[in-house]
């Protein structure tokens, strides 16, 4: 059984069909790419998956359990974590606190853990945050306010915050958005390390070299419809994809971060 099974998902905003009958299957341990021009529905799909918007049609199964229309906090507790394209860090909290707060309501955490100001379990959880800061290259920025960090560090911090929830499925929304080629390579290294222990990832990206580098499979969206799916080599050489997506992308010369929904 696939970890994530999306059947005929639609999402309508007024007269606009942002998502139109999307079918997707993401297997456990897979790194799955999601590409498409701006406005093609990628972030909308993330928002529907995480419960920010309920789908207007179709069915989503996470590990066999339906999550379509379930409130976001319940979906989060079912093991789905995400990062945000336009970064949702708490600017006036330190890097440490931004990760620490996300441990809330992981499986097995109760009221006593929420009120704890110390103790063995809480110390172990704090150590875990320190380890994640190390792993994401943020150890020296531990006490810096998230709002003061440079963009690449903010994107790393978003990933660390999602990882601390120990998700079964991790959604990364443009993890290398706005980064230089050098920073993008560092991000690719981090994503591969994140995926290494068999974690399942869905990655939205505009940078084709990053996508073909890290993804096992990918799918192309255009105007809310799936137009291609398969291994990166095949999809990225598909003439229809080249025409619809890459052709148009070449015109506006990528790098447009102005949002996707």
């Amino acid at each position: 059984m696939a970890l994530l099974d999306i059947n005929g998902i639609g999402r309508r905003f007024g007269a606009v069909e942002a998502l139109d009958g999307i079918d997707l299957r993401v297997e456990e341990g897979e790194v799955f790419g999601l590409i498409g021009p701006n406005g093609s529905g990628k972030t909308t799909l993330f928002n529907v998956l995480t419960g920010v918007y309920p789908p207007s049609a179709g069915e989503i199964l996470l590990d066999g359990r339906p999550i379509g229309g379930v409130p976001p906090e319940r979906i989060a507790r079912m093991g789905l974590a995400r990062t945000f394209q336009n970064l949702r860090l708490i600017p006036h909290m330190s890097a440490f606190e931004n990760i620490w707060l996300a441990q809330h309501r992981r499986p097995g955490m109760g009221l006593r853990d929420i009120l704890a100001v110390g103790g063995r379990k809480e110390r172990a959880r704090r150590d875990e945050v320190e380890t994640l800061l190390e792993r994401t290259g943020l150890a020296t920025r531990r006490d810096a306010f998230a709002g003061d960090l440079p963009l690449p560090d903010q994107r790393r911090l978003e990933i660390a915050r999602a990882l601390v929830r120990q998700p079964r499925l991790l959604l990364l929304d443009e993890p290398a958005g706005g980064m230089t080629p050098m920073e993008t390579q560092e991000m690719a290294t981090l994503i591969r390390a994140v995926a290494a222990p068999g974690r399942t990832l869905i990655v939205i990206e505009h940078k084709m070299d990053l996508i073909s580098d890290i993804c096992d499979r990918l799918c192309v969206l255009d105007f809310g419809r799936k137009i291609a799916e398969g291994p990166p080599g095949r999809v990225l050489s598909d003439p229809e994809v080249l025409d619809i997506y890459l052709g148009r992308e070449a015109d506006d010369n990528s790098g447009d971060d102005s949002g996707d929904d």
Partner: protein
């Protein structure tokens, strides 16, 4: 200590509770212009419990907190869908409703041959518990600051625990809180209820020091002040709103040459501070730096070290 000093200190202590009440809501991202309602409910309920039913203040206080807390949680639940300005207006409307209900309510019982109880705009008088038990103003001083110490300790524990970061996360970014597994609805009602109970502590002390309270004591100016205390004192720590009370009641009210111009001075102070320190004097950044310094850690908060 002379009586004037004790009165000023008692006022500072009493207003600190309602300032902390508004502060707690500010942390969760809500601006309430209505905390005076729960201060008033605390004053009336505790006063009625001691004066009409002969309960001890120490039983009347938690009961009044419970009444105000439940009322506040109910208002919180009703206004859950309202955000920002709409929430602020709803809280103001509720507080005015409570005040007008008090004006319209007369319910007196006979205590030692005297009618005692709420008497419309004449207020609730004969709150004699302090007098009967020979409590001097200085005794109330210890009671107020003892209670305030306990409340502050609870605030510090909250800020160290995950509960504090949950409330701050909801205040900073509601959608983010939801995607972190936080049940925002439940915490919003909890915070509203706790804030109501907090304001009631101040009201209970106020009623038992004044011995008579009137509905007009709980008008919108009290709510505006309590909101301003957190905004000028700072949103980084629970000491912030108390600093705000100190500045207003301790400084502006105590300095004689400002008398008569006090509201002008206070308004100017709020305006200037909010321009130069939008999150107050003790904002998150200054509190964070202070904490790092206290722990002996180098305050590298601009991330200048590089990797």
């Amino acid at each position: 200590m002379d009586d004037h000093v004790i009165t000023v200190l008692n006022n500072i202590g009493g207003f600190s509770f309602i300032a902390l009440s508004a502060y707690l809501l500010l942390l969760s991202g809500e601006i309430s212009f209505g905390q005076q309602a729960f201060f008033g409910i605390g004053a009336y309920a505790s006063g009625m419990f001691t004066a009409m039913f002969g309960l001890s203040f120490w039983i009347a206080l938690p009961l009044a907190m419970l009444v105000a807390g439940l009322a506040a949680a109910a208002v919180g639940a009703l206004t859950l869908r309202l955000r920002g300005l709409y929430f602020a207006i709803a809280t103001l409307a509720f507080a005015e409703t409570i005040r007008l209900i008090l004006v319209a309510t007369t319910w007196q019982v006979d205590v030692d041959g005297e009618p005692v109880g709420p008497n419309g705009s004449e207020g609730l008088g004969n709150i004699r518990w302090g007098f009967d038990n020979e409590y001097a103003p200085v005794d109330f001083l210890w009671m107020i600051y003892g209670s305030l110490g306990i409340v502050l300790l609870l605030f510090f524990l909250m800020e160290r625990s995950r509960l504090g970061s949950i409330v701050r996360t909801i205040g900073a970014d509601r959608l983010l809180a939801e995607t972190q597994g936080i049940n925002v609805t439940r915490y919003k009602i909890l915070v509203a209820g706790l804030a109501g109970a907090l304001a009631a502590i101040g009201g209970a002390f106020y009623a038992h020091i004044q011995t008579t309270v009137y509905p007009e004591n709980f008008d919108v100016m009290l709510g505006v002040h309590s909101l301003a205390y957190g905004l000028i004192g700072g949103l980084g720590t629970a000491v912030g709103p108390i600093l705000g009370v100190l500045l207003d009641v301790g400084f502006l009210e105590a300095v004689e040459w400002i008398q008569g111009y006090r509201m002008i001075a206070f308004g100017g102070l709020v305006a200037v501070l909010l321009i130069f320190m939008p999150r107050g004097i003790l904002d998150e950044r200054r509190v964070h730096l202070l904490r790092l310094m206290l722990r002996g850690r180098r305050p590298d908060i601009h991330g200048a070290a590089g990797h």
